[in-house]
Symmetry: C2
Amino acid sequence: MKESGMAKPRRMGTETSETRVRLLDVTERIMIDDGYAAVSSRRIAKDAGVTPALVHYYFGTLDDLFLAVLKRRADQQLERQRRTISSSPRPLRRLWDVSKDPDGTALLSELMALANHRKIVRSELATYAEQFRKVQLEALQEHLAASGVDLHGVPVVSILVLIAGMSRGLMLEHSLGMETGLAETEAVIERLLDDLDRAAEASLT
Amino acid sequence: MKESGMAKPRRMGTETSETRVRLLDVTERIMIDDGYAAVSSRRIAKDAGVTPALVHYYFGTLDDLFLAVLKRRADQQLERQRRTISSSPRPLRRLWDVSKDPDGTALLSELMALANHRKIVRSELATYAEQFRKVQLEALQEHLAASGVDLHGVPVVSILVLIAGMSRGLMLEHSLGMETGLAETEAVIERLLDDLDRAAEASLT
DNA sequence: GTCTATAGTTCGATAGAC
DNA sequence: GTCTATCGAACTATAGAC
């Protein structure tokens, strides 16, 4: 299955085309720098040095393009994510550092905003996001169960929700130009995660 | 100062016009329901039952309209916010409940997304957001200092950043259709805030 | 595989009548 | 205070030449 559903018999570029990859790269960059609303076939074409028609040749509609951006990112990260948690000695801190990546966070924020008024993007994004959380939860639960660390009644999944929410939140406020409380809060969270990681490490020895 | 800078000598409606208020209401509703990208003079006019030209008559440009939406909301909330914290027996829980308001959170999220590519919106929003945080911080610091509660090294401002970030985060994930971990995490945060509130109350008696 | 040309929309904003 | 009429620009998407 290379494209959505039983589409019209229209010509469409191959998955491996270099141009296709470049168009995805350019689209990601526009979304990160100027927001999803700045994405148009003309803008993409201009930035990529091709003509607007090529965008439609490769992706059909803009919805399909957004879905392709989402799918590529998500597939890239999913397997890596699973390994990250189960192989790192400090999985929580590692997860936090990965979540803090400015580009990734910005792109995710834009996709979430986009999902607000593109039904197909919403359902795809929700599916991926749930999948991510479950993969992370499984790996983390395994890790913490083995170490027998005490969370004082806090569900393991809440640590993941906290990491996801606060990395997005801090990044958003920072890119807005806010300052009050950001650095302190980042430090508090990192200390918390480090403490948990260390406690888990200690119980394992 | 009723409008931005030394604008052209163009006619413009009064601040108190009923139509103007209705246009602001309709614009807020569109942003909350369908996102800022759905806002256009034609859409506003249609929903408000007037003609598109009226939007420009009252607000000039769309930027001015967005700024008016922001200003009205912010001014409404600012004084109320200050009173909320210093008058409630459980200020943190109260702040959390207010922050959870779906409409307010959605509108703020849209304004933040909008700020991503409208310079003037960004700087105004950042100014207001910083002002909010400082007002909250001042009131909260006073409250907590009087009660002498122990935060175990967590800065007071971080509680505010947490409330802001997680209320937005939980709401975003919920509106996306996600489920895993949301209810548990909301409960954890509310327990934490309630505990702090109770501790502060107890030290005051 | 990539291009030109273009149809068909929708938009912001303004001028000027009422 | 509200309307009609309209200009000029940007956009999505397609058909068909090369």
